[in-house]
């Protein structure tokens, strides 16, 4: 990732986000002014990195959370989101960076002294205590008098819908009930921030939907700041005021759910949030983008003339109709599935691109159709890179050590052996092999993006460098592959 072109410096979320729900939140009114900026943030995560041994799980993460906000940290498993939450809770120390709460550095404050509480993924209820004692655990430690504990336990039990469950053994409860007890056990302590680690992941779909609504309601009633970790993009869109999308230890995008959905900053976000068609395109000039062999009008500006870009089309934004001469592109329906409210179809365009389309009308398989895409439904993104710039070492005049392996190159004369060099390799010039020994180096497929008529794979090589590969072959996430690059395709060898 070292040579990634992405600029993802997370910016504080603009003051307006907070005002939408400010009336519900005690104390939030003062924050709207935006004058004393740093006081409005209850949590400031400042350039945090975390290494476990030689594995980096968080890479320079910064995040600012407003008081009363519902922030969701969203990402695939292994993206570092749980580690980030554990650093907030105090279970892990960051390798670099700091965490501030209400302006005070709390990076090294132990968990039991932090005014936050956590709802754990697998509930983590105390099995030897009943529901009442589980919930009263925090208050009893604080030596609150028994009458008051009694009152508060009953109040939170009512809030989570478990009135009269006081004496029950926690292990006799269903998953959903256990989760409610876990939530009750946390909120009874009136934390300033509630941390939730995939709290609904173990519940079935129906229960999950119900609990989502209840959590949202609870957030409104309590006015507590919620920081919620999930891998479920739909959950994130439903619940959050702000979504933080993470991948490979880095923040990809921070924004309101609608912004994240409509204006993803890179193909990863576009692919991860909702369904999407992601295609290669060329920005001919401002508001004109060429893709699928058609020049479309769009609303994006500020690109270089003829810049290569990624184009995102949401499946519900492509208008589909029976074949006529008004369509911008033509194609044939390949599959059609009824999804309850809409139909989901794949259409192969006459130029061989596969598009995912959702529409209320069904078109039969094999039917010829035409499609229109409106300018504001086309979302254009800068490409993260135009080719692979790979760092390596020149071993001798015809060999380069890079990507954790040895590659033959065309003879180099003007650079002495042993120098650090950079080389360029086009995405389509890399061939992936079934057996690692067939390639100059080995790697692991870590991200797959379908681009309508080919796949764009991210392959993480043995030395940790990511390379992008265009291929028509089907690979799976996690496949171990050999990386083959022909000598003539290793270009622009230069000293650094």
């Amino acid at each position: 990732m070292a040579d990634s072109i992405m600029d993802l410096t997370p910016k504080p979320i603009s003051g307006k986000d907070c005002t939408q729900h400010a009336p519900d939140i005690p104390g939030a009114a003062a924050d709207i002014s935006g004058e004393k900026d740093d006081k409005t943030y209850i949590i400031e995560i400042d350039h945090i990195s975390k290494w476990f041994g030689d594995k980096q799980v968080l890479d320079d993460v910064s995040l600012f959370v407003k008081k009363g906000e519902f922030v969701t940290i969203l990402g695939p498993s292994g993206c570092g989101k749980t580690t980030l939450l554990r650093i907030l809770a105090g279970f892990n120390l960051p390798t670099e960076g700091s965490v501030r709460m209400n302006g005070t550095d709390i990076t090294e404050i132990p968990p039991h002294q932090r005014p936050m509480n956590t709802v754990f993924q697998r509930y983590a209820l105390f099995p030897h205590l009943n529901v009442y004692d589980n919930i009263a655990f925090g208050l009893k430690l604080k030596k609150v008098d028994e009458d008051s504990i009694d009152k508060q336990v009953r109040r939170v039990l009512k809030m989570v819908g478990l009135t009269d469950y006081e004496e029950r053994d926690v292990e006799s409860l269903s998953g959903g009930q256990q989760q409610r007890v876990a939530i009750a056990r946390a909120i009874i302590n009136k934390p300033q921030v509630l941390l939730l680690d995939e709290p609904l992941a173990a519940l079935d779909l129906k229960m999950r939907k119900d609990m989502q609504l209840e959590l949202k309601q609870m957030h409104k009633e309590l006015g507590i700041t919620f920081i919620y970790v999930t891998h479920d993009q739909e959950e994130a869109l439903t619940l959050s005021d702000t979504i933080v999308v993470m991948n490979k230890g880095k923040v990809q995008q921070i924004g309101k759910p609608t912004d994240i959905y409509n204006e993803p900053v890179n193909p990863f976000v576009a692919d991860f949030i909702g369904d999407s068609n992601i295609l290669n395109g060329i920005m001919v000039e401002d508001r004109k983008v060429l893709f699928m062999y058609h020049e479309f009008e769009c609303v994006d500006e500020g690109f270089q003339p003829n810049e290569h870009v990624d184009v995102v089309l949401r499946p519900e934004d492509i208008y589909i109709m029976a074949r006529n001469d008004k369509g911008q592109i033509n194609g044939t329906v390949q599959t059609c599935i009824f999804k309850g409210v809409h139909y989901e179809m794949t259409v192969i365009t006459d130029h061989g691109y596969e598009l995912l389309i959702q529409d209320y009308n069904a078109f039969e398989v094999g039917q010829e159709v035409s499609m229109i895409i409106k300018p504001f439904d086309i979302h254009v993104m800068h490409k993260e890179r135009f080719n692979n710039s790979i760092h390596g070492t020149l071993k001798d005049s015809a060999h380069i050590e890079m990507l954790g392996g040895l590659f033959e190159c065309e003879p180099v004369e003007d650079i002495e052996s042993g120098s650090d060099i950079m080389v360029d390799v086009e995405f389509e010039d890399i061939e992936l092999m079934d057996y690692t020994e067939d390639g100059g180096a080995a790697g692991c497929v870590s991200f797959i993006l379908y681009k309508g008529n080919h796949y764009q794979l991210t392959v993480t090589s043995d030395n940790g460098d990511d390379i992008y590969v265009y291929t028509n072959e089907v690979w799976d996430d996690g496949d171990i592959v050999g990386i083959r690059i022909l000598p003539k395709d290793i270009r622009n060898i230069r000293r650094i």
Partner: protein, 266 residues
């Protein structure tokens, strides 16, 4: 026929296994000097034993007291050491190191008693500690502790690893979290470990023999051994053997019940 043979094989095996102890128990209920000489049912030997009228009665009583005291102290200390060790081993992050330590923990259990006895004997001699109560208790702690580790470990591995953190999160200090959350979770394992250690200690002969020194300290096992070598077993010892057998049997049943209940819960 085949079925009959298969079945009787099992019964013959059990009979051979249990015949010696059965004979001792049987002959504890008759008043005779030697085994094999049945003189009708009587509880005289039990009466003699309990009222202190048997030959060397005072020594026997002292041996019983020694055995019980040593077993209680050794079991209690083993329970503490073993539980702490189990928590420590469980928390080792490095898998290889953890496996290695668990393996090291298992060695004393498969090591023959006689080797444990001799090595401890040599250790105490080289350290200049003279044999007696202290050395026997230390030796018993040494061979009981691994069993406690072994009975506490499954409780820890079954435990939701987040509950300790949940306690911290709710405001407990690490010590409070350990007392209020970890201890209740592993308590059944600790109790099983205690009972197991207790029976192992009562049961032990070889290690005790090597570590008891020459100051006249006798436990039941060493006393019975010495007594049997001096012109035949004192008849009352048959009763004692029966009582010990029964006690240990009951303790073993308790342990088995506990562990099968634990397995069912899982």
């Amino acid at each position: 026929m085949k079925k009959f043979l298969a079945k009787s094989y099992l019964y013959i095996l059990l009979l051979v296994l249990y015949a010696p102890i059965a004979i001792i128990i049987l002959f504890s209920f008759t008043n005779s000097k030697t085994i094999g000489d049945w003189r009708g049912f009587s509880l005289d030997l039990y009466a003699n034993l309990l009222s202190g009228q048997a030959a060397h009665s005072a020594t026997i009583t002292q041996a019983v007291i020694n055995t019980l005291v040593i077993a209680l102290i050794a079991a209690a200390i083993s329970m503490l050491l073993g539980s702490i060790a189990a928590v420590g081993i469980f928390n080792i992050r490095n898998r290889k190191v953890r496996k290695a330590i668990q393996f090291a923990n298992n060695i004393p259990m498969i090591n023959p008693d006689i080797i444990t006895g001799i090595s401890l004997f040599l250790l105490f001699v080289s350290l200049g500690i003279s044999g007696g109560y202290v050395t026997v208790v230390l030796a018993h702690i040494a061979f009981c502790t691994p069993y406690v580790v072994l009975s506490v470990m499954p409780r820890l591995t079954r435990m939701n690893p987040n509950i300790y953190e949940a306690a911290l999160d709710l405001g407990a200090t690490p010590l409070q979290a350990f007392n209020k959350v970890i201890i209740p979770e592993i308590k059944p394992g600790m109790v099983s470990g205690f009972i197991l250690s207790f029976t192992l200690s009562i049961d032990d002969f070889a290690v005790t023999l090597f570590t008891k020194g020459s100051n006249g300290l006798e436990t039941l096992s060493t006393y019975i051994y010495a007594d049997a070598r001096k012109g035949g077993l004192t008849p009352e010892l048959r009763c004692l053997a029966a009582i010990i057998f029964l006690t240990v049997l009951i303790l073993l049943i308790i342990i088995n019940r506990r562990s099968s209940r634990f397995n069912k819960e899982q």
